[in-house]
Amino acid sequence: MASVELKNVSKSYGSLEVIDTLNLSIADGSFTVFVGPSGCGKSTLLRMVAGLEPISKGDVIIDGRRVNDADPIQRGIAMVFQNYALYPHMTVEQNIGFSLRMAKLDKPAIAQRVAAAAATLQIEPLLKRRPAQLSGGQRQRVAIGRAIVRNPEVFLFDEPLSNLDAELRVSMRVEIAKLHNTLKSTMIYVTHDQTEAMTLADQIVVMRAGKIEQVGTPDGLYEDPQNLFVAGFIGSPRMNFLRASPSNGSVQLEAGPTLAISGAPSTQDMVVGIRPEHFVFGGDGPQLTITADVIENLGGTRYLYGTTKSGEALIVEAREQTGITSGDQVSVGLRTERALFFESSGQRLKLSAAS
């Protein structure tokens, strides 16, 4: 087990800056998830930790040791790849044991450790098969097996579940969480799926365009995003953003109601963010009138997709409201204490609604 430290790390291809002077601490034994839209640099960052991608500037420190120039094998890392990257010409057993063979372990020792890894993942019956004879989920297990057999200091996962179907993705997610509980190793996990990030992570690193937007716990990011990007990225369905402007100690939404706030915003245009689950029907808070466009019934809950009078799209969780049909005018109440305020540039304004 080991901690991972990134100090002023940069990566550029020619003049193209992919990672820009990035700093990050990953605690020993933690489960850290890099999340962000595609092209944000999260996979590149992971590969820099792995040693697959040279570092242009800065230092990568694993377990207190600067490893910029070390080969992957010297860094004590193991990696699970997006497309599994199982060697097609080897059996499952040989795939899992390959790194041990490279480390020149003797055959009985390899066999014993492969068996142990297979037992952990319950893939003993597959050991003699080749990757082509396995299902997607089974390949994923073998790929994980190949990582755990080495007892690495740090596990790296590069979008490991993105090739699985939805159902399998959920169950593998749970298994990876269990694995972390059992092994207690440091794990770094890259995904573009905020649900995976929220469910797996101790620490989420939200990235955009080669920079870290925010680092925090899942709850921290959900409750207290520092900017519009993080607020919009974390949470599903995503947070609603409504145009607004300050007026005399309160905030006037273009869509209608006024929210009373404490503190004075220094800006003219602002954005109010409110999550779909933070509306109430029939309360006494500020009321928004919306036209229902589509009602999405998920069984357990339902979402109302509507348009405000100001023409802004809005998603409202309407768990109990069964009677609404598209075209209806609906009045919904905002839970102002959950509303978040942002400058139009995206920075969070530290305002709170006056109760």
Partner: protein
């Protein structure tokens, strides 16, 4: 419906005709190889009136066929092994790391598909390296001249092997050599088979290099030996046919066994254009 059957029958007759045109010359050699000298002089398609199996033993003895057979086998297998291995190594690093320099190097090498050989100055090179009139010299010549096409063939195939496999192997502790020999080379098997079969057949069939660079008949491959035999026994078409048959038999066997690889390899390379 009748019209459709008629069309299919017509198509089959044409295809059969085309196949016959391709096969008859070989059949011609095969039947005449068993005839008496007198009957073979007409080189007709009729079956032998009496079967002269001894033609073959005559040819083997007179034409020193065993020596030339082993020469051909040596040249074809050794040069094929060398070409296939060095081309795979080169194609691999050129395909994987596409810097400007390597890109140029790749184009420079496959340019050899088009370039002619200068036999005159090549003689000087052969003499300078003490390789003229040697078996090793011929093997290296064949190996060198097959490199451009082989590199081209393998380069295209390497693109189909996901780079993630390399990375997985690196993370598993592979060094460049172990990565290539334990992971990449096994995955290249289909294209290596294609390259090896084509190179083998190419070398087996060639007689130009031996013509230029082997003056000792002890080093001659089968093609040159046949040609020489033909010069001596022009009137004995039964023996010439037997000699030809023995020379092309290995070619036909390798072709029939490996035709799957030849066709798949050629078409993947050729149609890519």
């Amino acid at each position: 419906m009748a019209n459709k059957n008629l069309k299919a029958a017509g198509a089959h007759s044409m295809a059969i005709l085309a196949s016959l045109v391709m096969v008859i010359p070989i059949y011609l050699i095969a039947v005449n190889a068993f005839k008496s000298r007198a009957q073979a002089s007409a080189m007709s398609m009729e079956l032998p009136t009496e079967w002269h199996f001894e033609n073959f033993s005559t040819v083997i003895a007179q034409g020193k066929l065993w020596t030339s057979f082993f020469n051909s086998l040596l040249y074809a297998t050794a040069s094929t092994a060398i070409t296939t291995l060095v081309s795979a190594m080169a194609a691999y690093v050129l395909s994987r790391a596409r810097t400007r320099g390597r890109r140029f190097l790749y184009l420079f090498i496959i340019m050899g598909i088009a370039l002619p050989i200068n036999y005159f100055t090549l003689t000087s090179v052969m003499q300078f390296t003490n390789l003229n009139n040697t078996r090793l010299g011929i093997i290296l010549l064949y190996a060198a001249t097959q490199i451009p096409f082989t590199v081209f063939l393998i380069y295209g195939f390497i693109e189909t092997i996901p780079k993630e496999l390399d990375e997985a192997a690196i993370v598993d502790g592979c060094k460049p050599l172990s990565l290539f020999f334990l992971i990449i080379l096994p995955l290249l098997t289909p294209v290596l088979a294609t390259a090896a079969i084509l190179n083998f057949l190419g070398v087996w069939s060639d007689f130009i290099f031996p013509l230029y660079y082997l003056n000792s008949s002890a080093n001659w491959p089968m093609t040159l030996a046949v040609y020489n035999f033909f010069g001596q026994f022009q009137q004995d078409w039964n023996l010439v046919s037997a000699d030809i048959l023995l020379t092309i038999l290995p070619v036909i066997v390798v072709y029939l066994l490996g035709q799957r690889f030849i066709l798949s390899g050629l078409t993947s390379g050729g149609v890519k254009g």
